[in-house]
Subunit: 217 residues, 2 copies
């Protein structure tokens, strides 16, 4: 799977964004993409190759009524990329992990009925009902997004408060820096802290001793 | 505010990602950034200018104990960028909107106490308690992310079901395409549908008439 860095590099290119958008609508073959975007097939093929290598898109071959089989490309997985930037937070991530249904249904029991709807009732042909489901899901998504924004902002503010709180403690500069590093980055390894602060590991060890002695840790 | 397109262009550049990451940790001045990244000041200034213009970072001037005042850059707002790619979904968005606290507290009353904690108790200096808050928020974020992934996957699957459902209706190809366009893109404007399907607007109007007559709409 691609890293956040690789995804940023891919999406930094407008042509690739347009290709992904086309493929999200429906599977396409190279000529189709090249024609629509008015870009040469060779360039399109190169973009497709890069995105296939990084696991964003997939290739399949479809027999044609006449002529030779044709290569189609499609979106591979549900890919979610998120970036959150705020004071004290820079969080870039790609999420493709399995969804933990059990914990979802425990917290949101109303989703269960809905999940079974999609999953087992393959006979649903009533477009109207599916459209209702879609509208419900979009409303839920907006609410979840709102709660998520609140939590993220609270994380940023709490980190800021921790920083201010540490500033106000009567500690030496180095002890403050070590304490902050431990709390914000969740690192308790003196080597890592030393490396991040660009100081000697022994200084960090001594600082941790002092913090323990003062009862801060 | 920057568009999703502009943000992708900005983040397609590794140097700019590194600058944002530095500024998320703490405000910095140009020389500091240039030294840390080992990149010339002129180039850093150009990156900073672009990001400032797009509203990602902010400039402020700080007096120094000696010498002339120094220009610092900091992260401007809480910026959240999201990209979700899945079959039938390509959704890139930037979120900086106001959080709707009322609806959050109605749905998650347990957050209210927490909000008041950060907001009004400026006397909290107990780092331990802030650290507990931080851990709680991170756990909540993970759960919300899980629910969000479920909702997004369900949206993708529901759209797919709608496509299959429409395929199975006994309608002409053009009526199927028009119906799909109306449902997935929530566009009821014949001009827009015609434009998106690359056909004549009158054909779309006739198709909508047929769909109404058949009771599909």
């Amino acid at each position: 799977m691609a890293t956040a860095e690789e995804i940023f590099d891919i999406l930094g290119n407008q042509t690739r964004r347009m290709i992904l958008e086309m493929l999200a609508t429906s599977p396409c073959y190279t000529t189709e993409i090249a024609d629509r975007l008015e870009i040469g097939q060779k360039a399109i093929n190169e973009h497709l190759r890069i995105m296939q290598e990084l696991g964003l898109i997939d290739l399949f071959v479809l027999k044609q009524k006449r002529g030779s089989p044709r290569k189609y490309f499609k979106i591979k997985d549900n890919i979610r990329m998120e970036l959150f930037v705020a004071p004290r937070v820079f969080d870039a991530s790609i999420k493709t992990e399995e969804i933990d249904l059990e914990s979802i249904f425990e917290r949101y029991p109303e989703y269960k009925k809905f999940y079974e709807d999609i999953k087992f009732d393959s006979e649903i042909r009533a477009i109207g009902r599916l459209k209702e489901n879609l509208d419900y899901l979009k409303k839920e998504l907006a609410e979840i997004d709102n709660a998520k924004a609140f939590i993220e902002r609270s994380i940023s503010e709490t980190k800021e408060q921790i920083l201010i709180g540490i500033e106000e403690l009567s500690l030496s500069e180095i002890d403050k820096k070590v304490l902050l590093e431990m709390i914000l980055r969740e690192t308790y390894d003196p080597e890592k802290i030393a490396n991040s602060l660009n100081i000697d590991a022994n200084e960090v060890k001594e600082s941790i001793q002092r913090l323990k002695y003062k009862g801060v840790l």
